[in-house]
């Protein structure tokens, strides 16, 4: 186990005042809080900072840590001496619900853990709910179906330590789920002590980008390329939709950006979203004599200035 330099983690001097430590914590917590931060290793760093603050903000823990830390360098192999903490009294719960490092646990483990978890609404005999986030493919929401998610779950092991355990769940994704909504899996949270009711698992969903459709709430958007004559003269063209290929009628006089709505063909939520087709004009390439002649004939036939609105 490596010795951790909590002062270095917090970026404060060893003789920093309580106020300086608090200030450093607030700054780092805002920077790395997993709900706020977009830094890649935010969660990891936030835990580190939370752990350091947990020790340095408490006069008892800080004194014990300083006493012990005199002879260690960061990263050095560390073994706590037996009964090293006798004479210090620890209390209070730490921030965050993540696990602390082995280093922390070996110093303050049992004592710190005792005061944590099961806050205000504690229910004897009921396991805690668990929460997770996953990225889901849009198809799962459109058609329902089973997906397997690998989640990391905190668990209390036999020795009362908080450990992170990986488990894979096969989940029937409810059809029509929207980004930001939660899937509830009854009884998949923490096991309850004794014969109590286990907690539930809540999985918050975000969508992976879909190759075809853009999602806006419960509505779907598809950019559909059409030829200039299909847009101008009107046509019936084949269009993919979540429920299969349909013949879509393009009204005459459509232009790039024209929006056609297929009511109720978006995400099958309650109420279902709509499906929007946004037209894009695709130009045929003028890469042979025939095509060039056709463009030239069009130019001769139509006095058309596409830049009229720019005054040129």
């Amino acid at each position: 186990m490596e010795f951790k330099d909590y002062y270095k983690v917090m970026g404060v001097a060893r003789d920093a005042t309580d106020a300086q430590i608090k200030q450093a914590y607030r700054k780092l917590a805002r920077k790395y809080h997993p709900d706020v931060s977009k830094e890649k290793d935010a969660e990891e760093r936030f835990k580190e900072v939370g752990e350091a603050y947990e020790v340095l903000k408490s006069p008892e823990k800080r004194a014990a840590y300083d006493q012990l830390g005199k002879d260690y360098r960061p990263g050095q192999d560390f073994r706590p001496p037996p009964n090293w903490d006798s004479g210090f009294e620890f209390s209070g719960a730490g921030p965050g619900d993540g696990s602390y490092s082995d280093f922390f646990d070996s110093l303050f483990g049992a004592q710190a853990r005792a005061g944590r978890g099961r806050g205000g609404g504690a229910h004897p005999g009921r396991g805690e709910d668990h929460h997770a986030k996953v990225l889901l493919d849009l198809q799962a929401s459109l058609n329902g179906g089973t997906r397997s998610f690998t989640l990391r779950m905190p668990e209390i092991d036999a020795e009362g330590r908080l450990v992170s355990k990986e488990r894979t769940l096969n989940v029937q994704v409810p059809k029509g789920i929207l980004a930001g909504q939660q899937i509830r899996l009854a009884g998949q949270g923490e096991r309850a002590p004794g014969n109590g009711t286990p907690g539930d698992l809540y999985i918050e969903v975000e969508f992976q980008p879909d190759p075809l459709y853009r999602v806006d709430g419960r509505d779907l958007y598809l950019e559909l390329p059409v030829s200039p004559w299909e847009a101008s003269l009107g046509a019936s063209v084949k269009t993919p939709t979540p429920t299969g290929i349909v013949d879509l009628k393009i009204p005459a006089g459509s232009h790039a950006g024209s929006k056609l709505r297929l009511k109720g063909r978006g995400i099958p939520a309650t109420p279902p979203g709509d499906f929007y087709v946004v037209l894009q004009i695709a130009l045929p390439p003028a890469n042979d004599e025939k095509a060039k002649a056709a463009y030239a004939a069009l130019a001769a036939a139509l006095p058309f200035n596409p830049r009229a609105s720019l005054g040129v």
Binding site: R26, A29, R30, H33, D35, V36, F46, G50, P95, G96, R118, G119, G120, G121, A122, H123, E128, D129, H131, T146, R147, S148, L169, N170, V171, Q172, V173, P174, G176, I177, L178, A179, G180, Q181, Q182, I183, R184, L185, A186, Q188, Y202, I203, E204, E206, F207, P209, D210, R214, V215, D216, T270
Partner: protein, 102 residues
């Protein structure tokens, strides 16, 4: 190993339809009921049914838990929490749009 439908856990959408009492929310967020009332008064949480007893949507659970985390970890006051929750939701919405446009 392919996921088989028979063994799959049935998931249900937990949203507008899931109506929570203040007691439920308080237990699920591990804060006391008085605190949930404060969240409502500050506009962090919306009450969907005010008849005889308050009722909350499933989405309120997500918001309440976020609020509790921000309050505890960043030592924010209620007004700060309310502002942060609002801005974070707006940010999530913008990121969602950005992701699907890429």
């Amino acid at each position: 190993m392919s996921p088989s439908d028979e063994r799959a856990l049935p998931g249900t959408i937990f949203d507008e339809s899931a109506i929570l009492s203040i007691k439920d929310l308080s237990r699920m967020c591990a804060v006391d009921e008085r605190h949930i009332v404060e969240f409502v008064e500050e506009g962090v949480l919306n009450v969907v049914n005010v008849s005889s007893e308050w009722r909350f949507s499933g989405d309120a659970l997500r918001r309440a838990r976020l609020a509790v985390r921000l309050e505890r970890d960043l030592e924010l006051n209620l007004a700060g929490v309310a502002l942060a929750v609002e801005l974070l939701e707006e940010l999530a919405q913008l990121r969602r749009e950005l992701r699907t446009r890429r």
